[in-house]
Symmetry: C4
Subunit: 277 residues, 4 copies
């Protein structure tokens, strides 16, 4: 029984069906944003939505039954369960915002289509490498926001009135969006404020540049690693790598070959010495 459900769940036509359902669901969720469409076909759209949600629940149930423990070990399964679960929660009263999160269901495409899975996994793999720099960014943002609030709260309450406003404004300045206008605004009352803004723009650009380069270097390194592993693998296929494909096995194969040769020459020499005597 479990075997049959499993082969059903893993069949490619079943996967295609799920993808189709997600796409249809996505279109419906988009159409639901139009008041006119809702007025005309609201009930139909809602009914289809409920049916698709039901099918998602059934599909997840089948996959849980088929894969058992394995299912819960895959983080993508958790992703699916949480996203489908959100749609099952009551959306009345204080939970009204959950109604908006229902559109996240379209993101199930990420867990269903393998190439998207790879891309997202790659993004998450890149995260730890930038943790230190991200923390540094947040630290600089916080320190700058406290300073900006103390310095400019009275002259530019819109932008630097309190700490959250300052944090938002400085984040905006770090993306180089409209910072000139904000700085001019403040500089009307505090002519020396340009020091703060120019230093902040320069430092945030420098840090962003280094964040970028750190990620790029890591990506290129990983790529190099992959490549030499492949080369090593190629060496194994060519039938001559005794070391099983290390990070530099092209050289290792040659070295092994050389040492075997040297051993053979040593034997030759010993025999010749035997011959001589």
């Amino acid at each position: 029984m479990r075997e049959r459900v499993r082969s059903l769940v893993d069949a490619s036509w079943f996967q295609s069906g799920v993808i189709t359902l997600i796409l249809v669901n996505g279109v419906i969720l988009g159409v639901e944003t139009s008041p006119r469409a809702m007025a005309a076909h609201g009930e139909l759209l809602h009914a289809v939505d409920v049916v698709i949600l039901f099918l998602f629940v059934v599909e997840l149930g089948m996959r849980m039954y088929a894969h058992r423990g394995e299912f819960w070990r895959d983080p993508w399964s958790w992703f699916d369960v949480v996203i489908v679960g959100i749609a099952l929660l009551p959306t009345s009263g204080p939970f009204a915002v959950l109604r908006v999160l229902r559109v996240l269901r379209v993101l199930r495409l990420l867990s269903v289509i393998p190439s998207l899975r790879h891309v997202v996994a790659g993004l998450f793999r890149a995260l730890p490498g930038m943790m230190s720099i991200l923390f540094l960014v947040m630290l600089l943002l916080y320190v700058s926001a406290v300073m900006a609030t103390k310095l400019f709260a009275d002259v530019s309450p819109d932008y630097f009135g309190d700490l959250p406003s300052s944090l938002f404004t400085l984040f905006q300045i770090a993306t180089a969006d409209g910072w000139g206008g904000i700085a001019k605004d403040v500089m009307e009352h505090r002519p020396t404020a340009w020091v703060f803004f120019v230093v902040f723009v320069l430092v945030s650009t420098l840090v962003a540049l280094n964040l970028f380069i750190a990620v790029a270097v890591e990506a290129l390194e990983k790529d190099d690693g992959d490549q030499s592993r492949e080369e090593g693998g190629g060496g194994v296929l060519a039938g001559a790598a005794p070391d099983g494909g290390g990070p530099d096995s092209g050289h290792a194969v040659i070295l092994a070959e050389l040492r075997a040769l040297r051993a053979e020459v040593a034997v030759l020499r010993r025999e010749q010495e035997g011959l001589r005597s």
Copy 2:
């Protein structure tokens, strides 16, 4: 006959003539945008335009006749045919927009000048590598637009009134153009909206960064491939590569050399054993 047309079409002075025609045509199409110039020399400009179009049709006809099947197998020929064809379509009534597309004729420079051809071909080669990430971008844009429409349609109808408006606004925010003002606008009524905007800016920047790095790594890799292929080729020219220039043929040449040497030493040893006995 076909041979003579072919040598004519492929002659470098013929190519130069076509390039000159395209440039003249480009200048005329630019001048035509000026009402004053049109009032003064409108008929002359139009006449030259028609003559050049006629020459383009003749040139394409000659190339079709000269290269036959080959002509249709080159995507650049299709590009030329479509672009010249647009100018032959009627531009009255519902097709008035086609009149604007006539300026695309200047893009024939892309198909005629080889170095531009290379650049454009390079751009298209880079596309498949970014397909997954581009699809991810569009998915995130769609999901965010549905959410933004549901959340902000009532407080900021200009920016998030319906799904197309939201899509356009979020695309604009993803290019970091004026997002601070838009977010401030929404935050006046929904103070917690900053969560949505900051997350969207961070995620779209992170994804764009990864898109960029993916393309750069691919470009560098291809470059490396080209280089080692060249190295391999050098090995072949040096007369010692039995494997025909694989991705790592520098090592392969050395390995082949080593194995030949080892075989020779083995022969030496067998002979010595024969000598001994």
Copy 3:
């Protein structure tokens, strides 16, 4: 005695305590920006601030006593001393701005957490490599600002009224923030001003691009250096590198092996010749 203070200062729980103090201090400095919180708990906050400052002074005193000369040789110690010292200066009268700089105390996290130390050290290491380009940038900015002031001071006094205004405006244009509006403003009175702005945007983008690439290439190079050093080290561990891990010791190991082999074959040949005679 000094030994005991040293082991105390270097203990990991002591470090964790300092980090906690810095974080608490950071939160307090943030809360102090809120007038409402200051009205309610101003005295308490101030008291905690003074206690933490006192603990910082004690901690620095202990580290000075424990590490003696070593303490002053570490630039991070100077950083700590300056930052804590700022808080001890009088902040009345003309030194009121120092009160704002007290928040820099949160940056002590940079000197206490090793991974942040690495990131900041990396940023500073990247600086000398960009010095020439940064000087070039400043030179271009200065020359452009003098020209812009002479050309546009009368038509756009807000943006180009005097040299400092021009410098600020051109820095803003170099970050591509709102340059279109500024240029339009000037072009209303000086229609040919677009030449200046387009050239400035192109040159500053080109220089920024080169600054970026210079830093990236340096980062990748350093990385390559690190990697091959590691490879060299690996060779030493594998027990066969007579040259101690140079920049290309993979090849060097193979060469050494080859030369040993050739020497052995030469001995073999000499012996054989002896046998022959």
Copy 4:
């Protein structure tokens, strides 16, 4: 005589003197932008300016005399002559704009300080590699501007009224500065205009990305070339490279060594065969 002038001109204190003069001149040109300073010390500033200009002419004359033909073969000399020459031209009447270009004299620092010379030379070396892509960019800009003028001249005369306006506006959009506002402006009357703007932003970003990567790959390649040349040189120093340091001489050294070994083994074998018979 010529020898003495030459050693004078090439002396390091002479160079330092020229640098000092340029810096002083730069400061004076900056001060001259201030009406107040001009009112107070205008005549003094002008006198110093004339003296420094005279010294520059003398210095160039000495370098011309000392280096003769060599002087005119160095493009930097031309740069110096043109820049100093501008200051000697009459600046009255139609040549008033030349007065502004006098500040370019500060750029003589580029030709005098070697490290700046390197940076600028690097920038110019990068140019040919981007020529094709830059031409493509200009072609796309021109075609888009013609289309935009035809489509939007009537609804947005400020931005797209004629071909030059459209070119400027599209250049601005390509730098992602305020494009959202411009597009909104046009879309009020032409709701489908978003197609044009979104396509233009995407294509110009894609092309800019490729321009960037092309330059970066070239920079890295050149760097690689430099490095392997260095490695090759190291091989020569180690006394074993018979091929004089090609692009992959690490491998070449090993191959040469291997072939010598194989030849030796072949001799050994022939001798043994002689022994046998």
